[in-house]
Symmetry: C2
Subunit: 521 residues, 2 copies
């Protein structure tokens, strides 16, 4: 075993002993001893991102597919700030993550050097666990606690601030891996209440989220709902859903508020398992925040921190839903006839070509509105969505997912406006030669805003003026994603028709390494 | 005068009445009423950035050249988070900025929708003034106070959080522009002390920063230093320095700590005007944080919030430095002979070609080490640096500077690694057809980290392993900035030699609109 000489080396050894295998990095001067330690100690694999939003988004994608946290290595307050939006997304997705944020040596902070910032203050709003480690002797134990905090059920964001001297001062002892907080056990009272709801004949909905959207618990939820005559729903956006042929179907609550309100208008009872009661993504004038009708009875069988699969198993037992319900047989996707591309046609081609056990990273935004309809009977795959609503997750999420499982192909469905937030992830895909195929829905607009401007009642269609139009249009100049991707080492092509997309997608899925396809709408 | 109907419209009118002419935007759903108001009311010019770091960095560049704040329009907590790093840079530069951050309607926050975040908590670490406006009736007055707070001397960061209902609820009264906090007056005791220092024959240094680096006060500082036999220095990095032929010379404290310590080793007294006592940019093991020798006497004649030019005028009077000192006559830059490019040769070509009254935006990092030597006798120009140390300021800063003054050419000297943080600014340059010429120093590395890895004592040169090398090298794959720029609508070319660069630079400076030149090192 390599001898440990300083805090940084005890940190790296502790991470390794705590099963952290991957570290996404964008280090700076204050992290150089951590870099040296990662170099010297046989520890986590290090993957460089050219921007911190890439680093944290990739850590999210990795954890969603590896079912364990990655570490990130970030540079001082501003470096952390650049990664916060995707930390927010990860937190909302229940993703575990261990952020290591380097900072000035403790004795240097009072001198207010240029990069001095309140790192703990910045980390706190987006983290579940934050600590500033005081010295080298404390660093290993703090790291072990950070990993344990991240691994709590469901995943948490742990942010550990590491002053330069805590990394470079002498230390020799790593810390043992620590046990994490187990999931909250099923509450018998809530279970009885849920059983009563599902048996009393009223109109009931079972909403399952989090880990309950994986293949086995989802099948159990479907069996329960079928057995009891309840509707099975999922939250609007989810970290990871097992979908496709043979998997139990689950309908997400629609994003448009009027659709959600309509879908849930007659519901009398809701049983929640690892899900919150549905609320509007945004607020609108004269519109309720809750999507449930007044008086609707809500039973929280398991919170987001609860053991959802165990709760479903207990519920199935209690209601006698023991025979697995057969999933409906759906017609397999067919190849659409050739035509100029529309978002729906892109979704149809993807559904037709998605490989077995692929990962579908979905930041298609307005382009993906009917995606789930098309992919319902596609080859079995994992569907990864943006849960926190902060655009700019797609390219990093795909990067991290591909690194977590080299056996799976990753298809990233990417809105053009959102792509521009963290497109630097393509460079990491090229460097690591990841099997990621990115399809850009190039509608040359923030389509969601064009939709929402009317939705919030800010302007009716014919009143949109030049100023407002310019804040939502990306057509002047047009972005050329072929050049952008090629400039970062990712082969790319532009397609306009179904047949062009189909050919490009087939070629991409047969190739090694990343490919980008710009689908012009 | 257009009638005002809601909070958003009273906000826009108030901004206009408070002399806010420019708003850099990246709005989302919760800001749609603000967008509609900006559309309807004849108010600030709106410029879209494709990422919030572009928005805030452009606001910084605008304010540095326009000498008044721009507004930014940001989307909820995560949108603010994406802009924080360049807000940090702006704050350290003493740049005024008014951030308008949309958020959920007040009654929606408790429902914990996906984008819900502690916006005030995120803004606080990087802001001087933060407020969450409670309702539409308060919005106009809060906006007037935000502008006044930003305009305090020297510039401050004001962040106003605007809930959706504060924007869309009925309101009809805008607020009057408010007076800002004036600069702190010159303290007679400090003035006497400074006079005594400069006359007592001990080795003295006059360090001037902030507004004192503009042409007139800098000339006065030079006259004082010359008259009194003191050295004239500036902080290592500065928001805006008037430089070039005919301007008074001032030497910045070097970035490398050993050079700074050596330069200041014999200093007995320091007089500070709008500058802090020099400290190390980073901490290093066994190295002091202060760059001043022990026992050095420090006189703060004016703080960063003080009226530096007035302090210098009073000091000049008091020491009798009334005749302007002649600035040294330097040889004008010459065109270097043709050769393969090095960073120094790029700097030499730039110095030779920089147009009269141009703006030099400097995020060249390691490539810019000897830039100031070359440009000292170049045509008079304004030199804008990264003050807060958070890389990724260059492309946005150049964008904002160009929008502030269409008469000036902007030359942006850009390190490649840093360019990749906020390269989306090129799209805004193309859309607005700004006269920005960006020169990328393509060394395919985080050169500063290769330097600092040794500097902090983390590794000696021959010990650098594959993992550490990979975290600092950008050569696999090589970034192609010609494709990246062209993909965002900016014409670009790649050059390898002095003559190629010179030709490309001349063509760029003669053209309308933005150009990027990738200088391969």
């Amino acid at each position: 075993m390599t001898e440990l000489n300083n805090g940084a080396e005890t940190l790296v050894r502790t991470l390794t002993d705590s099963r952290i295998d991957m570290c996404f990095t964008n280090p700076g001067t204050s992290e150089m001893h951590l870099v040296a330690a990662l170099d010297r100690i046989d520890g986590p694999r290090c993957v460089l991102g050219l921007f911190e939003g890439v680093v944290t988004g990739a850590a999210d994608g990795y954890a969603r597919m590896a079912d364990k946290p990655a570490a990130t290595l970030l540079h001082c307050g501003p470096g952390l700030a650049n990664g916060l939006a995707n930390i927010h997304n990860a937190r909302k997705a229940g993703t575990p993550m261990v952020n290591l944020i380097g900072d000035h040596a403790t004795w240097h902070v009072e001198h207010n050097a240029p990069l001095t910032a309140d790192v703990v203050g910045l980390a706190a709003p987006m983290s579940d666990w934050v600590r500033l480690t005081p010295d080298a002797a404390s660093l290993a134990q703090d790291a072990a606690e950070a990993v344990a905090a991240a691994n709590a059920y469901n995943g948490k964001i742990a942010s550990l601030v590491v002053p330069g001297n805590a990394a470079w001062d002498t230390a020799s002892e790593s810390a043992q891996a620590m046990r994490s907080t187990p999931p909250v056990a099923v509450d018998p009272t809530a279970l009885n209440e849920a059983v009563n709801c599902l048996r009393n004949g009223k109109r009931s909905v079972l909403i399952v989220g989090g880990n309950c959207l994986r293949e086995q618990p989802l099948a159990q939820a479907y069996t329960i709902a079928t057995h009891c005559g309840a509707n099975l729903l999922a939250p609007t956006s989810n970290a990871r859903t097992s979908r496709g042929h043979g998997r139990a179907p689950v309908t997400p609550v629609p994003y448009p508020v009027h659709q959600a309100l309509e879908m849930l208008a007659e519901v009398e009872q809701v049983v929640l398992v690892c899900a919150d009661a549905p609320v509007g993504f945004f607020a609108y004038p004269d519109t309720p925040s809750s999507m449930l009708p007044p008086g609707c009875h809500v039973v929280q069988l398991a919170s987001q921190d609860g053991d959802g699969p165990a709760a479903l198993a207990a519920l199935a037992d209690a209601v006698g839903a023991t025979d697995p319900a057969a999933v409906p047989k759906l017609t397999a996707p067919i190849k659409p006839i050739d035509a100029s591309l529309t978002p729906s046609l892109i979704n149809a081609v993807v559904a037709y070509r998605i490989p077995e056990q692929a990962v579908l990273v979905d930041e298609a935004i307005t382009g993906g509105r009917d995606l789930l309809d098309f992919t319902a009977a596609a080859a079995p795959h994992e569907h990864l969505q943006i849960v926190g609503g902060s655009i700019g997750i797609g390219p990093p999420l795909a990067t991290g997912a591909a690194l977590a499982d080299a056996e799976r192909r990753v298809i990233a469905l990417q809105a053009d406006g959102s792509a521009m937030y963290t497109l630097q992830a393509l460079w990491t895909q090229a460097r690591e030669q990841l099997n990621v195929t990115t399809i850009v829905y190039a509608n040359r607009a923030y389509g969601i805003l064009q939709y929402e401007l009317r939705n919030v009642g800010a302007q009716s269609g014919d009143q949109i003026g030049e100023v407002a139009r310019n804040m939502m249009a990306l057509d002047n100049p047009e972005l050329n994603f072929v050049q952008l991707a090629t400039g970062m080492g990712v082969p790319a092509s532009r397609v306009h028709t179904v047949n062009e997309l189909d050919r490009a997608l087939c070629a991409a899925l047969a190739a090694d390494g990343p490919v980008l396809i710009e689908a012009v709408l």
